[in-house]
Amino acid sequence: MGLLEIKNLHANIGDKEILKGVNLTINPGEVHAIMGPNGSGKSTLSAVLTGNPTYTVTEGSVMFNGKNLLEMAPEDRAREGMFLSFQYPVEIPGVSMVNFIRTAVNEKRKYQGQPALSATEFLKMMRERKDLVELDNKLANRSVNEGFSGGEKKRNEIFQMAMLEPKLSILDETDSGLDIDALRIVAKGVNHLRNSENASIVITHYQRLLDYIVPDVVHVLYKGRIVKTEGRELVAELEEKGYDWIKREQGDL
C-alpha cells in the first residue's frame, strides 16, 4: 500500500473548480516531482492535502498512512507526518522561532504518545538541525519569519522539516528566489533527511532544483489534472521544450 493514495481528487475555491480529478500514488522512499505551468493547481494540491480551509474538496479520496486524510484536522495531518514547505511562508510577529518549533515538536510527540523533550534535548536537536541548513543562530531567536530574506525563509522551512521529521514532505517552489548557494544548502538538507521510510513531493518550475534532488517520478500537472507521468528524463525534456508541447497535446494550442 502507498504512503499517499490520491484518487480522483476534485477541489474548489468558492465555486471555481481548480483540481479536476487528480490521481497519484506515492510509496515510501520515493521522490516525486510535480511540474507544470503557472496556475495549473500545484499549490492548490499541496493546500488541499494539508487541509487549508480555503479549499473545498468536492470529490475523490486521499489515504495517508492507511488513514482517511480528508477527515483529519490540519494539525492532525501534520502530526501524522505531513509537512508543507510553503511557497510563501508567513510571518508571525512576536512569536519566537524557538518557542514555535518547540511547541510544534512537542505537539507531534504528544500525538504519538511520547513525552515532551527536555530543554536540553530540544536545544541539542535544534543545534544539529540548524547546522544542517546553515541557519544563522540569530534567526532562531527572532520571531517566526519576521524580517527574514526570501532565502532565509526557505531555509527556515527546511529547518522545520528537519525538526519535525515528516513522512511526507511537500516542497512548494522551495527553489524560487534562491541563489545557487542557498539552493545547494536546501537540497543538501532535503537529501540528508531522505530515507527509505519517507517520501517527498517536489513542486517546481525548473530543472535546477531537480539536479540536486533527483526525483524517481516526474508528473506534469496541467489545468487541475496530471497529464503526464514519466521518469526523471522528463525533466530535461521539459527544460528543453518548455510546456507548449504539453498544452498542444492537450489541444490548447
Binding site: 487541509g51 490540519p74 501534520a78 508543507l84 510553503f86 514555535f100 505537539e107
Partner: protein
Amino acid sequence: MAEQEENIVEQVTNQEYKYGFVTDIDADTIPQGLNEDIIRLISEKKNEPDWLLEFRLKAFRHWQTLEMPNWAHIDMPEIDFQSIYYYSAPKSKTNKTDANGIDPELNKTFDKLGIPLYERAQLSGMAVDAVMDSVSVKTTFKEQLAELGIIFCSISSAVKDYPDLVRKYLGTVVPYTDNFFAALNSAVFSDGSFVYIPKGVRCPMELSSYFRINAAKTGQFERTLIVADDDSYVSYLEGCTAPQRDEAQMHAAIVEIVAHDRAEIKYSTVQNWYPGDKDGKGGIYNCVTKRAICKGDSSKISWTQVETGSAITWKYPSCILAGDNSVGEFYSVAVTNNYQQADTGTKMIHLGKNTKSRIVSKGISAGKSQNSYRGEVRVVPKASNSRNFSQCDSLLLGDKCGAHTFPYIQVDNETSVVQHEATTSKVDEDQIFYCNQRGISTEDAVGLIVNGYAKEVINKLPMEFAVEAQKLLAVSLENSVG
C-alpha cells in the same frame, strides 16, 4: 472566508472561567443599601477613629451630588446602589482556626485559587495580603518585613497601628471629590492593603494582594495605599477573581501610590474578575481609580496591567510626574471577549522638568466585545524638556468586535516632545493555518500569536506572574478562533 472567520471567532469565544466557584461559609453581613447609618455601621464594625468616619461621611455626602459618568465607550446598565451589600466579612462556621490563625475553609479557598496563605508553603519570596469580600484574611511575612521597617498589612490594621501615616497620605492622590466611583469607595471602603517602605530600603520580596469576591450581591470596595520613602524600592502585585453569578457585581477600588525622592515603585495587576457568561450575563463591573504621584525628584512609577476579566472595565492608572526628572510608565494588555467592554488607558501628567513617560497599550478584542484605549498626556508650561512616547496597538479576532483609541494630548511648552503611534491588526488566517500545518491546534496558535503580540507588556511582569498571565491570555480567548 467570512464564514471561516466566523468559525474562528466562535471557537475562541466559548471560554470557561475557572474560578467561578463559591465558598460555603457564613458571613457577617450588614443590611443592604447605602445611607449614613450604613456608613456608621461599617466604621463601627471596623472600630475606626472619628477622623475616618468623618472622611467617609464627607465622601458620601459628596457622592450623593454626583451622577454616574457616561463619557466612556461603555454601555453600562443602570446600577441600583441601594440593592448592594456594602459589608460582608467571612465568618468561621466552626469558629475554629488553625495554629496560624486561619480558618480552614478560607485556606481551602485560597489554596484552590493558587494563593498560599502559609509562609512555609511559599515557593518564592512573595508576601501576600489575602482579602475576601470586605476583610483581609491573612497577611504573610509581616514580621520578616517589619525587621526592615517595611509595613505591609491590611489597611484596617494600618488605621489602628499607624494612624499618622495613613492620615498623612489617605485621599491625597485620589481625593474623594475625584470622581463618582472614588467618592463611593471613600464612603464605604472595606479593606485593602497598606505598604510603607522606609528611606533607603529595597523591599526584598514581591508584595502581593489577592482580592476575592465571594458573597452574592456584595460590592467590593477595597482601598490600597502604597508609600515609598526616599531611595526605596518595591514591586507590588495585585490579583483578583470572583464566583460565576448571573447578576452583575460592583467592584470600585482605589489605589493610591506615593513615591518620594529617587524611590521606585512597580505596580502589576493581573485582573481576572468574572467576565460574565458568553451571552453577556453577569460579571463584575470593575470601576477603579488608580493613581500614582512621583512626588520626589527622580522617582519612578510603573504600572503594568493584564486585564482579561470583568464584564465592564473602567480604569485609568495614572501618573502625576511632579518631581523633576521623574519617570512614569504604563504597560497594558486588555483582552475582551464575548460581550465584555473595556475602556481603559492612562494619564501622564507632566508637572516637573525633564519628566519622561512611556505608554504601551495592547488591546485584544474578540467576540462581540468593545475595547477602547483612552489616554491623556498633558505637559504643563513649566515641565520643560519633558518626553512622552505612546504606542497603542489593537488586535482584532473576528469582525464583530470593536477597537477604539481616544488619545488626548496637550503640550504647553516648546521644549517637550510627545509622540503617539497607533496600529490595528487582525489575526490572519494564514498565520493560523501555518501553525496548524506544524501540528499546532488553532487554540494554541491563537495563544501563541496573542502572547507574541503582548510580549512587550508581559515581559514587564515579575517572572511567575508572567507565566500566569500568558496562560490567562490563552484561556480568555479559548474558542474565539476556528
